[in-house]
């Protein structure tokens, strides 16, 4: 079991969700976050001044998956989260973390059944 954390552009969320549905990943959790990376300038101006590079709005997806689904999930995210054809700086990252256990609160099921 892995926990996949993907940080993407907010405006790609719908596309990524659709792409994940296609590889049969139906469950995920979304967290608002702000990213500090190589991208610049989303905050153009304020009172005629350009704020210095700063935290930009991002969205974080957390998806717990069984091993088989790791690669399809990564591919789905990658293809749908890119801005334009070649991607842009700021398009984000995917982190894959090992996961020891998973529990479904409703039923108490554990392990890969509970994902």
């Amino acid at each position: 079991m892995k926990l996949i954390i993907a940080i993407i552009q907010p405006n790609r969320l719908e596309a990524v969700k659709d792409a994940l549905t296609e590889v049969e990943v139906f469950r995920l959790t979304v967290v608002d976050c702000q990213g500090f990376g190589r991208q610049k300038g989303q905050l153009g101006i304020y009172r005629s001044q350009e704020p210095s590079v700063n935290l930009l709005r991002k969205v974080q997806l957390q998806i717990a998956v069984n091993e088989d689904f790791v690669e399809p999930t990564i591919q789905a995210i990658m293809s749908a989260a890119r801005s334009g054809d070649k991607g842009q700086i700021g398009d984000g990252k995917i982190f894959v973390l090992p996961m020891d256990d998973c529990i479904r609160i409703r039923t108490g099921e554990r392990g890969s059944d509970a994902i």
Partner: protein, 487 residues
Amino acid sequence: MGLLRQVQSWLCLGLVAMALVSPPSITLAQEAAPAAETAAPAAETPAAAPATTEEKPAESSETPPPAAPSTKEAAADEGTPDSKLTFALNNVTLLICAVLVIFMQAGFAMLEAGLNPAKHTVNILCKNLMDFAIGVLLFFAVGYAIMYPDWSGVTTKVFDFNPDRIFAITAWDGATVLHPQVDFLFQVAFAATSATIVSGAVAGRMKFGAYLFYSAVITAFVYPISGSWKWGLGWLNDWGFHDFAGSCLVHAVGGFAGLAGAIVLGPRIGRFSNDGKSNPIPGHNMALATLGVFVLLIGWYGFNPGSQLAFANHVNTNIVMTVATNTTLAAAAGCCVSLAVAWVLFGKPDLSMALNGMLAGLVGITANCDCVTNVESLIIGSIAGVLVIAAMLLLENLKIDDPVGAWPVHGVCGAWGCIAAGIFGEGKNLTVQLIGTGVYCAWGFFTLLIVFVALKAIGQLRVTKEEELTGLDISEHGMHAYPADRS
């Protein structure tokens, strides 16, 4: 200017012709005329009859100040303290009413902002601020001149202007009942309203530049031209068409213009799924939206009572007070009925429908609040409360995306207001009302349709998909409405 004048005239005539599929003809105009004549004194107020004999007739909106026939008579007793007080009271009150109408801009801004996603908020605020600012400048430049040409007696024209009012307000001649400066102020607030109504229907996807452009067109030409037909004492006034405070002149024109915009733009991304399912995009702040409606309600007490344009004698006072109460009753009825219908149909008391229901009642009563009874106001408001829901469901079915419901509220209920005047209003001719309503709806729809289609043709209408998804705040204005503290 001569050319423009002609082109405009022909354009208007063409559109009017389209609207009048059934030939109304001269005969009908003559039928209507006598009705119109009796309209003013026959207002529902019991005390009006004896009072009028000794007073000059109510300077109602039927006879706007610049062309007021009572000018000379008024001038006669110019110097008496009484006439000075009357003048002061009329104008000060109208000033207060104008302020209330201007306050409506804030109401529209908050309502539209609240009913849309957060990512378009700056754009919406900027639109609502600028359509007022630009509206004031353009109405001062040409709109006022077009809306109040010098048409005494001539009613075959559909477009003209008063050259003395280009970039100028005629000086007060010491005789007219209203001071031209405050008359301008009151009128410009109305003009800005009609532009701002459209804003809601095209929210979330239009380029800011395109918005400024059509907003300028409305306040400079579209609204003043059609306004002149009635309030400029033009042909529809001559026919006896009745629209007390602008259900059609302001709201239906704006609402149908918005419909044209919503159609030409197409729905926002994700609003209707590929499988045809409707997928509403909720507003981001219902507190803001509700505040907006309360502000609009308050503003309406300037909009409707102020439209009497005179306050200082028994007839006027009587009408103004009745107008205010009718306005309140219709708003309350629209609100309750909309909430109840939505509750029954959809299982929950839906705040957004109650808000729209109140506005629907307000728009519906606007044309006829001077000529119906209190109980009729309840009926008119209630029907508006049903119409607004029906119209929303219709838009859903037609897959037209009107983010705040501008057409259901202002377009449909605006039309209803003028028709209701024909049904309930004493001495009003239903046929004339139907024709006038049709003319205004068509005028608002087709003129703006042309503008929007033209903008689309040159690729200046709609933002890109990427920009829309990111939100117009960042893509058009480069700023967030609600930046996190740390950014």
